[in-house]
């Protein structure tokens, strides 16, 4: 039977939402084996978190090389597993780490690579939205195992309970991967709100907040949303860089994106244009962000947001 690998996505030791999304897409292709890479001694705990979705098997690899050598070590393991299992495809989360791992695996295994897919079909056709979401592209890998990175939050995850068989594996780290050494790592700060790329709703603030994110945060909290920021806001130090949305920040595609005091520069749009619904609050009626808004309020965010926050709370209670 055709098999499909996924790389289970752990950030700061936590299995992220995309793992189940990858499994859902992988199950269309074949029997799903999830690869779990864990620090020594934590394989069982990590593997136990893969209890949802169409995962038939889990391969656990325990090693401290992943923390010490990062991307190179992860690429080594995946290449070794591909060589023995010969899967039709391997699906990996499309963030910086996932894409770089995929790139190295593609070189090592001489296989084709497609990044940032928003969908993957049973016949391995990947769908991408390119040029700021203006063009849909379908493509296929035509050499070797298809290495595909998938954008978080684009596939609706099948969350039925699963109890996959767990197998453990050892691996050899290459000399090449040892050339880069990580001396310390800090996981991203979440601050109690949902993670940006996983959130169903994202409320972002830009230069128009003038440094005061309280109204943006309060509105986000009324909706159970993640908070994002434009580069103008992160550059000014008003919000952490890890919350930047856009070309050089994160790509989000939530059900709802609310842009407050953001003009809609092309680099910002690149990270949010594929959101299902876009709502804008901006006092300049000419701001380009209105061109892509499903609903726009021309107004002062400091006047609109507090009232909208009350309105949402009233409806929810």
């Amino acid at each position: 039977m055709t098999s499909c690998l996924i790389l289970a996505d752990f950030i700061g030791g936590k299995n992220t939402k995309i793992t189940a999304e990858l499994a859902t897409a992988a199950a269309r292709i074949g029997e799903v084996t999830a690869v779990v890479l864990a620090p020594t001694g934590q394989g069982a705990t990590y593997a136990a978190s893969l209890n949802q979705g169409a995962i038939s098997k889990v391969i656990v690899v325990e090693s401290d090389s992943f923390a010490a050598h990062g991307i190179g070590a992860v690429a080594d393991v995946l290449t070794q597993i591909i060589a023995t299992k010969n899967p039709a495809a391997i699906l990996i989360a499309s963030h910086a780490f996932g894409k770089e791992v995929a790139g190295r695996v593609a070189v090592k295994s001489n296989c084709g690579i497609i990044t940032d897919a928003v969908d993957v079909a049973a016949d391995l056709t990947a769908t991408q939205l390119v040029f700021g979401g203006s063009t849909t592209v379908h493509s296929q890998v035509c050499h070797g195992t298809a290495i595909i990175t998938v954008r978080p939050n684009s596939i609706t995850a099948d969350l039925k309970a699963a109890s996959p068989a767990v197998e453990s594996l050892s691996f050899e780290i290459s000399e090449c991967a040892k050339k880069a050494t990580i001396t310390s790592s800090k996981p991203p700060l979440q601050g109690g709100r949902p993670e940006l790329t996983e959130a169903d709703i994202v409320v972002s603030g830009g230069r128009g907040t003038n440094g005061d994110f309280a109204a943006v945060e309060a509105f986000a909290d009324s909706l159970g949303a993640a908070v994002g920021a434009s580069r103008a806001a992160t550059d000014a130090g008003w919000y952490p860089h890890s919350h930047q949305v856009g070309q050089t920040g994160k790509t989000v595609s939530p059900q709802l994106y609310v842009a407050c005091g953001i003009s809609g520069a092309i680099q910002h749009r690149a990270g949010m244009q594929t959101s299902k619904a876009i709502v804008v609050i901006n006092k300049d009626p000419e701001a380009p962000i209105f061109e892509i808004a499903d609903f726009g309020v021309v107004g002062d965010l400091f006047a609109v947001l507090p009232k909208a926050t009350e309105g949402v709370k009233a409806r929810k209670s």
Binding site: F97, G103, I113, S134, T136, C142, Q247
Partner: protein, 261 residues
Amino acid sequence: MKIAVCIKQVPDSWAEKKMVNGLLDRVNVDVVLNDLDEYAIEESLAIAEAHGGNDEGGANTITVISMGPERATEAVRKALSMGANNAILVSDSALVGADALSTSQVLATVIFKGEFDLVLCGTESTDARMSVVPAMIAERLGCAQLTFASAVKVDPVAKKVSITRVSETGVDEMFGQFPAIVSVVEKINEPRYPSFKGIMAAKKKSIEVMDLNAVGIAIENAWSVVIDASPRPPRAAGIKVSDDGGGADQLVTFLAEKKLI
């Protein structure tokens, strides 16, 4: 130090981009130096300046490497006018539509021959948006991959490079020995504008244009194919209201109607 900077010429971010026969139309579009690569050029200049400069015959040289159509000399020239010393442009009709695997193969071959200590890249080309080429080059050359750097420290005597990596997965401190591939994020510096003197000097700097034969490799494989590409319908113009005190209520009603709350 021998420093290389990989730069790409890309369609202007604001330009309308079209696919023709499954490939991005790079002819009928305004092109610019990939703005994320400007940070790599700036960082190479800053590194050189911190360690004896890159004047003719000095301690460091900065070589710009680019793969693209002949027209990409414009982008290369801009990098030279910022202060890089010389340039190599790989241009060959066989490379039209080249994917990241071929691109990295070409760049890695040129880098290997040039025996560089340090190779700087941007984190992403704004057209392809893959962010894989630097990692692929590191894999091909078997050298240290130090990517997504928000800070770079170089010790030429110990031949050591240390960086702070920032990405979705957190913040890492990491290091490696020469030769190393470093990609830099846009928070790292503020790229300089070419000065008049720089622009004049760049006119005299050499750009070596090579075809694949001169590089010494052949590109035969296509690892992936585009089946089709179609424009998506533009987002339909939505509702726009002026806030005269009732904007918030209208907004909340919209969210409720769309079942978003």
